[in-house]
Amino acid sequence: MVQRREKKLVYVNPDLLEEAAKASQSRGETVTKFLEEALAQAVKVTAVGYDLEQSGEFFEVMQAQRILGGTFVPLAVLEYLTELACRESKEQLGAVWFESGKWHGKYLKERFSDSTRALERFLWASRWDLSEVQIKRSDKDIRIRCVSTVLTEEATDHLAQFVRGIMEGIGYHTIKSEVLKGMIVQDFKQ
């Protein structure tokens, strides 16, 4: 038996309703279905802890990551490979991360009007091994700080190379780079 859900009235800006009517037509839906679906999905997005305003931006960043060749990898394997690869050819691998970062940076610069904000969103969304990502801007200077309680020394070093590559790809020069196990502090100038 289908359970009938109770309905309730809510106030809405009439201009938005007109725009919603046009948008719903383009999807071939009724305006009621269009708006109720929006409310339902908004509840789902906020239920997993995301801010609605940032969701569109987040989605764009993830799409960019798909285009740039992002892929999910089992964390345990990544840690094993990082440790092994560093033992064998630390510098060579660091250069690969840096070059990959530069390529990401060039794309972010082309794709987003505020590329450093896109970088912040990207790190925040994809690197859940980071407990803090902070990008401070002052005039033409930028300071990036990443903190993690779980990153190994090698993984921290790779991330630092990657971030430095991105910033150089965007068009910044590295002024200072401090890398400790689980902490990266880097200063850049445009």
Binding site: L9, L16, A38, L52, T71, L78
Partner: protein
């Protein structure tokens, strides 16, 4: 259903009560009125529609990331990943394969609590398809107690192909399957598996 009211510049919209109650809680927690929040949501959906996007797609993306995080995955860089896989495979093939096999076992463990094996396998397949962005084809076919898996990616290196095969073998073992067919060449994996009990009885 939309009704005109006497309130200037406001109309009413009829929506599900459970949704509005939840939104009321969210609005309160963020210092908004329900009116402000609902209008913000509608504005966002209208703008998203203009660029062929929707809150539904965004919610799906968030869910996928959350599932990947819980499943022990990290979003990495494909080219770096291949380089590291090549290096590890070249150094110690067996150890590298074991590492991937174990990761497969661990990943599949989250699907084995369900007693219905068909549902478990279906969930495993769904999540794997969602996570493996670097394989254009990830094909699963389940008939009775047999499973055929085919993965194709022109970008896989030889080492990565063999290591990813180990990952799948680990996962299938954890799900109770034994491999009967293994055809692996660079960029192409074809695995045939059968439920362990059935394998033993034939």
């Amino acid at each position: 259903m939309i009704k005109q009211t006497n309130v200037i510049k406001r109309k009413t919209f009829v929506a599900r009560e459970d949704l509005l109650n939840r939104l009321s809680e969210i609005a309160k927690a963020n210092g908004y009125s329900v009116f402000e929040l609902v209008n913000e949501i509608f504005q966002l959906e209208i703008e998203s529609n203009g660029i062929n996007l929707s809150l539904k797609k965004m919610a799906s993306e968030h869910r996928q990331l959350e599932t990947a995080r819980q499943a022990g995955f990290m979003l990495g860089l494909e080219n770096v990943w291949y380089d590291m896989a090549d290096l590890a495979y070249g150094k110690d093939k067996h150890l590298a394969q074991k590492s991937w096999f174990d990761a497969g076992v661990w990943f599949a463990s989250r699907y084995t609590s369900n007693d219905q094996s068909r549902a478990s396998l279906s969930m495993f397949k769904g999540d794997l398809s969602a996570f493996i962005w670097n394989a254009p084809e990830l094909y699963f076919e389940q008939t009775d107690n047999q499973v055929l898996i085919r993965v194709t990616s022109p970008r896989f290196t030889e080492a990565y192909t063999f290591l990813f095969t180990s990952f799948l073998l680990g996962a299938m073992q954890r799900l109770g399957y034994k491999p009967t067919v293994q055809e692996v060449t660079r960029g192409v994996i074809r695995l045939g598996c059968v439920k362990e009990a059935e394998y033993g009885s034939t």
